[in-house]
């Protein structure tokens, strides 16, 4: 009885749970036995060499990638192959892509309204008012009527973040959000992400911005060859990496 109560309590605070996740591309074993639990409000940074499976891992969470073995639960919903369930989960999960992936034929405002209007069936006025609020928050409201092609990379990425937030996601996934940006634009995107973190958003960020990891992450996860090699609080992770592979990786990215 007591045990049941504890389980129930922990379930409500758990946002993501992966149990023995495995994925193959043909013969290539991309994800090997991934166990990961993310609590509501937790901020996770995932790093690792290219091809280590970190993007694939977070893309499994909103089923942009399919896994072949294991269990994944998002919120209280177990991931299945049922399209209704997949869509249900996607509506709780926001994602920000490396190349922004804004819709080029729509204005900034329309990019942010399209899902609230057609997926959540909100009245246009309400959707637009809400979109303007989020655009305000990422400090780009004055560009609302422009098209993505007329904005800088940093501006586009901030719009992409606003577009995701307009769906009121429970968790946000960031897939190398600053990797395609010129150096002077990285900060404006990171600032938005830091603010989001301080507001209590659950976040999983694949990034090599170690400064960001140190400031906001609750946990840093290091992946290599499809496995989670090490996970730790950021101060421990950077000052005292346990595995040789982590040490090598950190020396490579922090070494210059």
């Amino acid at each position: 009885m007591n045990e049941q109560a504890t389980t129930a309590a922990s379930n409500t605070s758990r946002m993501i749970e992966m149990r023995g996740l495995n994925k193959w591309y043909g013969d290539f074993h991309v994800l090997r036995d991934i166990y990961l639990e993310v609590e509501r409000g937790e901020r996770i940074v995932i790093c690792g060499p290219s091809g280590s499976g970190k993007s694939t891992l977070i893309r499994c969470i909103n089923h942009l990638e399919e896994f072949q073995k294991g269990d994944l639960t998002v919120g209280r919903l177990p991931m299945t192959r049922d399209i209704k369930r997949i869509e249900q989960i996607r509506r709780q999960v926001g994602m920000v892509f490396q190349h922004f992936n804004l819709f080029p034929h729509l204005t900034v405002l329309e990019n942010c309204c399209i899902s609230p209007i057609w997926v959540q069936k909100k009245p246009r006025q309400e959707a637009e008012a809400q979109a303007m609020q989020y655009l305000e928050r990422v400090q780009i409201a004055e560009q609302a009527l422009k098209y993505p092609g007329q904005l800088s990379g940093g501006q586009q990425q901030r719009v992409a973040i606003a577009r995701s937030l307009c769906m009121h996601p429970d968790v946000m996934l960031f897939d190398e959000p600053t990797s395609a940006l010129d150096p002077e634009m990285i900060k404006e995107v990171l600032d938005v992400m830091v603010e989001l973190a301080h507001e209590g958003m659950t976040m999983l960020c694949v990034t090599h911005e170690m400064g960001f990891a140190k400031t906001v992450a609750d946990r840093v996860i290091f992946m290599d060859q499809g496995q989670i090699i090490e996970e730790n609080a950021p101060d421990r992770f950077f000052s005292d990496p346990q595995s040789e592979r982590t040490q090598l990786f950190l020396s490579q990215i922090l070494g210059h």
Binding site: N62, F97, F103, Y147, G149
Partner: protein, 224 residues
């Protein structure tokens, strides 16, 4: 004697223009129906819907692989022998049918190419904000594909306007049929046919002007 009879040509213009509405009506009807059919065929090809995909390939292969004139004769003269209820089919209906089927085969391929050309990252972004496959097709992929497809589709429309002239071989008196009648009455063949050529040319030029305006509008979002 060999000088161009301009007065005859000027007199011919208003007579021929009376048949312009029929020519345009057949072209517009053919274009609208062909577009609808082509979109359906393209979606079947893109999604590789089992069963229908094979039938679509056969359809496209046949209607692209045989002359339009042969198809028109087949519908107008051939089919009624096979299917009794088609004896009532008129030349105009047969022409619209032929234009629709023939051009939809070409248009399906260019629409398919335009859909496939929309980057996969657009689909992923749409899925990530919860859209269904239908919603992302309707709201994200097709609008972007339209911009790519419009120039080639307009080309087919231009071709279709000129192809309506084949209707005169089915006994329809449209622009070409009327010219033929006038010419055989007056024996001024050169004057008659150069007049109708200029009329077709002007229609197509008007359409090309419309095409440029449409493309400017579709490209608005992509201006820097």
């Amino acid at each position: 004697m060999s000088v161009l009879n301009v007065d005859y040509m000027m007199g011919l213009v208003p007579i021929l223009l009376r048949y312009l509405p029929l020519t345009l009506a057949m072209a517009v009807a053919g274009m609208v129906l062909a577009l609808v059919l082509a979109c359906g065929l393209a979606v079947i090809r893109v999604l590789r819907i089992p069963g229908l995909n094979g039938a679509t390939l056969l359809f496209i292969s046949f209607f692209r692989g045989t002359p339009l004139l042969v198809q028109l004769f087949l519908f107008y003269y051939g089919l009624p022998q096979l299917l009794a209820f088609l004896t009532q089919i008129g030349g105009i209906t047969a022409t619209i049918m032929g234009l629709t089927l023939h051009f939809s085969a070409y248009m399906a391929e260019s629409i398919r190419a335009a859909i496939v050309g929309v980057d996969r990252s657009q689909t992923e972004a749409a899925l990530s904000i919860g859209m269904t496959n239908g919603q992302l097709m309707r709201r994200i992929v097709l609008p972007q594909a339209t911009r790519v497809a419009v120039p080639t589709l307009m080309n087919y429309f231009i071709d279709m306007i000129k192809a309506t002239s084949l209707a005169f071989t089915l006994g329809v008196t449209e622009l070409m049929g009327a010219t033929q009648k006038e010419a055989s009455g007056s024996f001024l063949y050169f004057e008659a046919f150069i007049t109708v050529a200029i009329i077709y040319w002007l229609i197509v030029e008007g359409l090309a002007w419309f095409q440029r305006r449409l493309e400017t509008r579709l490209n608005e979002a992509y201006r820097r």
